[in-house]
């Protein structure tokens, strides 16, 4: 069944009554091979396929790249001048506060861009009505999530790195003065972004493109409680437990301690990472439940319409 006949056609393939060939490789004239009914590829390659699909969009479109950097840089410039003004009118005591504000702006952008990078990459699939093809490929749901998270990392780096560099050259603020713990803080904030984005993605699976506004706006609703620019203690007592249930609040408490006193708040870092695990687990549960529900309702083919 695997050879070729005298016309160069595979023996397994003559007319509509050709013999079955499932479960084996069939070699044709010219040396090409059919791979029948067996798993192919690796998770890493499928994830790369998804990343490549999104990178290809940016490769030819400088406006898209510019749009990634635009808002973080704009935020940095505005807040930079505000803090420069405060430092000027209030003397050196405001310099530390200025650093805290700029650190807050930069690190909050990490959370925001991480969430948007994930959710908007998913929306790209919705807008191009490509989900049907993706979900009939061997791409597993967790590989989809990993691909979107990888895209979120790339988009966040492209968006926030220019703002960080600008903050150093324009205002003399280097967020890296936080030291190596900055890496852990950034990871904790990105993980929170992924968790929120995963929940938003689940809502898009449930409600379709009608839920896409959440992809843009949901983080702005969390920001007031995440203690980005002020300590948790400033919030009303009844609201403080809410803030302390948000991973970012612990990161920003830790950041302020580091910038104000040079202290390393391991407790806050631990809480941030632990809460990330809880948020990710909750979001993953919601996502998987909505993915299954979409398969029951037949929504995977229609999302985007």
């Amino acid at each position: 069944m695997t050879g070729t006949d005298d016309r160069g056609a595979p023996q397994a393939a003559r007319g509509n009554d050709a013999a079955p060939t499932q479960g084996r490789a069939v070699t044709f004239a010219g040396g090409t091979t059919a791979f029948h009914g067996r798993p192919q590829g690796s998770p890493a390659r499928r994830i790369w396929g998804l990343i490549f699909r999104h990178l290809a969009l940016y490769r030819r479109s400088w406006p898209r790249l510019l749009e990634l950097m635009y808002w973080p840089v704009l935020q940095m410039v505005v807040w930079g001048f505000i803090t420069a003004y405060l430092a000027g009118v209030q003397g050196n005591t405001a310099s530390v506060a200025a650093g805290v504000l700029l650190g807050g702006v930069l690190l909050w952008e990490v959370t925001l861009r991480s969430q948007m990078g994930f959710a908007i990459s998913f929306l790209e699939e919705v807008w191009s009505r490509n989900l049907g093809h993706l979900f009939v490929s061997p791409l597993r749901p967790w590989e989809l999530v990993a691909g979107l998270a990888a895209m979120s990392v790339l988009r966040t780096v492209a968006a926030v790195a220019p703002a960080m560099i600008l903050a150093f050259f324009l205002y003399g603020f280097g967020v890296w003065t936080l030291g190596p713990v900055l890496v852990a803080y950034v990871f904790a904030l990105m993980a929170m972004g992924w968790a929120v984005a995963l929940a938003v993605t689940a809502l898009i699976l449930r409600h379709g493109a009608g839920a896409e506004a959440l992809a843009w706006g949901v983080m702005f609703g969390i920001a007031p409680f995440a203690a980005v620019f002020y300590p948790v203690a400033i919030l009303p007592a009844w609201l403080q437990p809410v803030a302390l249930a948000i991973p970012a609040a612990h990161v920003f408490e830790g950041m302020r301690a580091a910038l104000n006193n040079g202290a390393m708040e391991w407790g806050h870092l631990g809480w941030a990472l632990a809460l990330d695990v809880v948020w990710m687990a909750g979001a993953a549960w919601i996502f998987l439940a909505q993915f299954h529900s979409a398969r029951v309702r037949g929504a995977l083919l229609n999302i985007g319409e």
Binding site: A12, G23, G37
Partner: protein, 250 residues
């Protein structure tokens, strides 16, 4: 006994409790190496059936075994050997033809993907459009790209939802020839949902007629023509769609 391309047992889908089933107790066994047609009017259950065969839709009851893998428990193993084309599901329109094929070559783990993509571009006369965004192509060119994507992993089981819908006769014939060639070369099985009876007569060795979600008749096109005493499948289709039984038709 060889593993069938598709084994469908009692497949039923009811979207909401109390609703009439969109697909009701569908059963068939489709061998490897054949092209089968899934025929029926609008709302007969073709698209719902195909969505369940692909694992996009969870059946209310019954089961699908594709390429020897139960779609309820092992669908990703089956999906690696399957593919799908429909004019109603787009490919990313801002990606070029070549980029689209590369994406799906990665997703399906196609070995020596550069060579495979070059083969497909040539086979489907897409080489001149390889660097053009998919969204800028004509309907016929888009259909050829969709088919190239559907064959990128040399599927053992290919599901096609109206593959020549909205194509001019020349392009439609071109697509049908490409499908015949692929099946003849690969020995793959193909299941085709179509409203084009001439296409079904040309491509399919066996037909499942759906009406109201049920398989109301099945057989080779020749068998059906003989049974209904008709000259072409379109008349058979109308007999079934309008509820004329075989005796009436005869």
């Amino acid at each position: 006994m060889e593993t069938p391309a598709l084994l469908v047992e009692g497949l039923t889908k009811t979207y909401r409790p109390g609703d009439t089933p969109a697909v009701d107790g569908l059963s068939f066994v489709m061998p490897m190496g054949q092209t089968w047609g899934l025929l029926g009017g609008n709302g007969a259950g073709k698209s719902t059936t195909i969505a369940m065969l692909l694992g996009l839709l969870v059946p209310s009851s019954g089961r699908v075994v594709a390429l020897g893998h139960d779609m309820a428990t092992d669908r990703f193993a089956a999906l690696a050997g399957m593919n799908f084309s429909s004019p109603y599901i787009a490919l990313p329109h801002r990606l070029t033809v070549e980029e689209n094929l590369r994406v799906y070559a990665h997703l399906y783990g196609v070995p020596d993907s550069k060579r495979r993509i070059a083969e497909l571009l040539e086979e489907f006369a897409l080489t001149d459009f390889a660097k053009r965004p998919a969204g800028q192509l004509s309907a016929g060119q888009k259909t050829r790209v969709a088919l190239a994507k559907a064959l990128v992993n040399r599927p053992a089981l290919l599901l096609l939802d109206e593959p020549t819908a909205s194509l001019d006769p020349d392009t439609g014939d071109w697509v049908r020839t490409a499908l015949e060639r692929y099946r003849a070369e690969s020995g793959a099985a193909m299941l085709l949902a179509s409203h084009n009876m001439a296409e079904v007569e040309r491509l399919c060795s066996h037909v499942v007629m759906l009406k109201g979600g049920r398989a109301v008749d099945t057989g080779s096109p020749a068998d059906l023509l003989h049974r209904y005493g008709r000259d072409d499948l379109e008349e058979v289709f109308l007999d079934i769609a309008r509820g004329r039984n075989r005796e009436d038709a005869l």
